[in-house]
Every structure is written in C-alpha cells, then in structure tokens.
Amino acid sequence: MSVLIFLAAFIFVSIPLSWLFRAMLARALPRDMALVARDMPLTAAFGILIIGIYVFAAAFAPVLAPFAERAVVGTSFQPWDSTHLLGTDRLGRDMLSRLIYGARNTVGIAFATTALAFLVGSLLGILAALRGGWLDQLLSRFVDALMAIPSLIFSLLLLTIFGTSVLTLILVIAAVDATRVYRIARSVAQGVVVMDYIEAARLRGEGTWYLIRFEILPNALAPLVAEFGLRFCFVFLTISSLSFLGLGIQPPMADWGSMVRDNATLITFGDMTPLLPAGAIALLTVAVNFVVDWQLYRASGLKEQG
C-alpha cells in the first residue's frame, strides 16, 4: 500500500518538475533547439530530466556519495536514518552510496554494450538485406545458429570459458545482443530495399555505404531506435539474471542488477530494500523509452497533435 502512495506522490511531484524543466530548457537553449524543447511533450522532458540526473550522479559519484563504494560502515540491513539515508546492505555498506556508484558502473556498462551490439548488429543486418544472395544467407544462417542457442545459457557458457571481467561481460552480452539486433535490422531493411527509391539510387550508381547511410538507415531507424531503448535496459536484466545463476560483476563493484539479486529474498517478507535498485533500473528504463518515443514520433514526420 505504501508503495502505491509513494508512486502517486512521485508522479504528482514529477509533473510540475518536468514542466519547470521544459520551461527552463526553452529559455536557456539557443533558439532553434529551444523551439524543439518548447514543443516536446512532458513525458520527454521528464525522461531527459531523469537521464540528466543519472548522468550527473554517475559523473560526480565520488562527490555525491556520502560513503565510499566498498566501505563497510555499519551492520547488516540497518534501517533508514539520518546517517544512512537508505539504510545499509547485507555487508553493512551504505545503500545510497552503492546506488550512486551503481549508476556509474551500470549505466556505463549498459551503454557500452548496447552501442556495440547496435553498431555491429544493425550494420550487418542492413548489409545482408541490401546485398541479399550468399552474404545474406551466410550471415542469416550463422545468426540463426547463434540465436538458436538460448542467450542466457550461451552467455553462461562463454563467461565460464573466458572469465568474468567487465570487458568480457560487455563483449559477451554485446555479441549475444547483436544477433537480435541483426534480425530486426535485416527484417526492417528488407521492407525498405524493395522500395523504388532504393532502385533509383542503385541505378544512379551509388555505393553500398551511401545506400546504407543515406537511403536505408533513415527509413529503418524508427524500429531500431525503439529496439535500442529496450535492449539498453535488457543489459541490466541480463547482468541480474547472470548473477542469479552465479555469475556476474566482480565484487565489490556496485551494480544495480547484482544489488537486486543480493537483496531479492527480502521482498518475500515485504521488505522494500530490493525495490530500490530495481526501481532505479525501472525509472531509467521508462525515462530512456519516453525520450525514444518522442524521437520516434518526430522521426515519423507526423505533425498532428496527439
């Protein structure tokens, strides 16, 4: 029940905050950007505000956090009080500090992973759709084979073989994600490459890179952007699920996925602690996707007011 009240209060506060933030942006930004800012929906303003706060927290974590990331400063699961605003975790480390440092580690890892996955996946996907023939077959069959192996189990195998440093974690999750992106990109691009304007560009003698960059990508961007918003958040979940199965980030590094896992059992007794890192992930997910939706809407070229 208290969760619901908290949620309602949160929404109630965030609406005027977003409105203020938008008004502020419209004032502060240069003219052409200010126009964009003025017209954006409140949800997008909210999304940008949240992302801004997260980036700020990530960048200034050592300044903002009251305690060090790994320091044991109390006993296990202390309640919320003035010293430890959000209490302490299982080992007696300050929860708030862990959350702030977690922003830095988690967002960084998730962004690197998703960017890598999209770079590789969408380029190959579009290329396959554009070229068709044996290249398409080769790539698609290979991707099919990789995707046919359940991603979590495949990640588990690869991480057990290659170790669990942050770099291998990023590479492994990106590799697995790239196959999913490839499939979406190829499928969307297939719808685009049969368009007449592509044929026209081909006849003009444009190169492959030009076709991808200026003809196909702009027209295939929308679903890809939507996918990006989701994939980005799935990285947290993958890390969390991996730590459920006994693999994960190197301690004492704070990361939200593992923090959810570490405290998850408490929810059985109605304790709110695990909701904090989970909520941090959820809030970011919603924020990122609000912004993505807004961009999607602008990219669609629809001018009507919704």
Partner: protein, 317 residues
C-alpha cells in the same frame, strides 16, 4: 505460392545446417569449459586415481572428434543415447520436461500475444494520450524488473495470501484446469516479461507507417482512425511485428530457466544448466538441438508470413 513452397523447402534444408552448426558450437563450447563430467561428478572429492577410473568408465578418454562422431551417428539413427551421469536414456529424461516447457510457453503466449497486439494497436491509435503513456510506462516498468524479482513480487502478492501456489508440482494425473491453475504464476511472470517488447514493436511499426502518403490519402478521404490503423497500417507493419513475436515465442521455450528455478518448474532450461554444470555433453547437446529446432521452425514461420504480407519480397530475384 510456388515460390513460397520452394523457400520453405530451402529453409528447412538450411535449418538442418543450422542444427549441425549449433551442435558443433555447443560441443566445442562444452569442451572448452574447464573440467569434464568425471571431475564435475566428484567435485571436491576428486583425486587423480578416482578421476582416471571414472573417466575410463565413462569413455571420456576418447579424443573429442571421436566422441562427437559417436554422438552424431547415434542421433542420425534417432538415438540420443544415455545420460552419462544418471545412465538413463536421454529420450526418457527429456520427454516429460519438453512437454512441460511447451505447455508453459503456450500458456504464456496465449495470454501475452493477444494482449500485446491489442495494447500496441490501441497505443498507436491513441498515441501520446494518457492511455498510451500509462500502458507504455506500465509495460516498461514490468520488464525492467529482473524475471526472478518479478516472480518474487507476484509470489508475495498472490501466493502468500494463498490464492495461487508459490511452486509448481505437476503430476501426470492432473486435469487441464488444475494444471492451468498451478502454473498461473509462472505464466503470468512470463507474460509480463514478453508483453512490453511485442507491444512496443507493434506500436512503433504502425506509427512508422502513419506518415506514408497512402495513409495521408486515406485520412484525407475521411477514413476513421481505427480503420486506418487496422486496414491500412497494420498489414504493412506485420513483418517486424511477426518477427518480434517469433523471437519472443522462441524465448518462452528456450530462455525461461530463471522462472523455472523460482517456481521449481521441471522444464528443459533447468536441465540444460544442470547438465552444462556437470558437463553431461550428450544431454546438453540433445536439449540444444530441441531449442535450436524450435528456433528454426519459428523463424521459418515468421519469414514465410512476412514474405506473404509483403508481395514485393516475393518478386525478388
């Protein structure tokens, strides 16, 4: 239509190739893992002598290609062999679990697919409305919780009060109704996990088309918004939607190990993770092949349907 049939035949042949590649990848990956079945079975109590004896008994001393060949020839004759760890025939071990896995996947899909299509279409229709925002934010929050955590919350809310059981115990004698009842929580968890993805893709794919001239044309003709979305936009947006559904269906079959663990559901995922941990390669391979077949067939279906919805693809050389 003939072109489609030829494509299906081609793809089925290629599917066999995929299965072969999968089996090689999985076999090599399992070989690359540290340790083998003998050391995994003995764990902390392994000594060099017992390891040697157990390896000899299990036939682990043959070189890897030989073991792969023995396994592959067996499978080609329809014999998956016996589990080295439990010495039971693999076909027996898998059949019940395969049934469980498919049952749960279908159950979740039967809720999730219609739900996400309806929500997606409505969100596209009433884009940027309160409904759109709430459906979106709700779905997004649902998927940003890790599966096990979502399951814990559902158990806390629905099982501790005694409405649904917190763990699934299946018996062969159960009626369908009982089965649906005891597996409701895992199915609900999975529904929450996959709905957002499908719903958002539906919405995005439809909105992506709404700026097309032919939609503009329809709108100017005064066609109602619902009709525009359903009759004009949706058919052309089907390809990406079908693909996302296929991906999620495959996920429901192959990727639910975490939910299986939380609800103590005896499915294939748990068995595969166990078998990987124990390096019981024959079992790992058999499950990998089942998963891969499910994947290949679903993708093939998705591709055929996408092609059928876009006649231009059929004319391609």
């Amino acid at each position: 239509m003939g072109a489609v049939l030829i494509m299906v035949a081609q793809r089925l042949a290629l599917g066999l190739l995929t299965l072969f590649v999968v089996s090689v990848v999985i076999f090599s990956a399992t070989e690359l893992l540290p340790g083998d079945l003998a050391s995994a079975l003995l764990g902390q109590s392994a000594t060099p002598e017992t390891l040697a004896a157990l390896r000899a008994q299990l036939g682990l001393n043959d070189p890897a290609p030989v073991r792969y060949w023995n396994w592959a020839t067996g499978v080609l004759q329809g014999d998956f062999g016996t589990s080295l760890a439990t010495r039971r025939p693999i076909a027996d071990m898998l059949s019940a679990r395969l049934g469980n896995t498919i049952f749960l996947a279908l159950y979740a899909a039967a809720i999730a697919v219609p739900l996400s299509l309806i929500l997606g279409v409505l969100a596209a229709l009433w884009r940027n409305s309160i409904f759109d925002r709430v459906a979106n934010a709700g779905a997004l929050s649902a998927i940003s919780f890790p599966e096990f955590f979502l399951a814990y919350i559902l158990i806390f809310l629905l099982a501790q009060s005694g409405v649904f059981p917190s763990m699934v115990r299946l018996s062969p004698a159960m009626s369908l109704g009982d089965k649906l009842y005891v597996t409701f929580l895992p199915a609900l968890t999975l529904t929450l996990v996959v709905t957002a993805h499908m719903m958002r893709m539906t919405r995005a794919a439809i909105i992506n088309l709404l700026a097309q001239p032919y939609i503009e044309m329809a709108r100017l003709k005064g066609v109602s918004p619902l009709r525009i979305v359903l009759r004009h936009a949706l058919p052309n947006a089907l390809a990406p939607i079908i693909n996302v559904i296929a991906i999620n269906l495959a996920y429901l079959i192959t990727g639910v190990v975490v939910v299986e663990v939380v609800f103590v559901y005896p499915g294939l995922g748990q068995l595969m993770v166990d078998s990987v941990a124990k390096r019981d390669i024959a079992v790992v391979q058999a499950i990998a092949l089942i998963f891969a077949s499910a994947y290949v067939l679903l993708n093939l279906t998705a591709d055929v349907l996408s092609t059928l919805t876009n006649p231009r693809l059929m004319r391609r050389k």
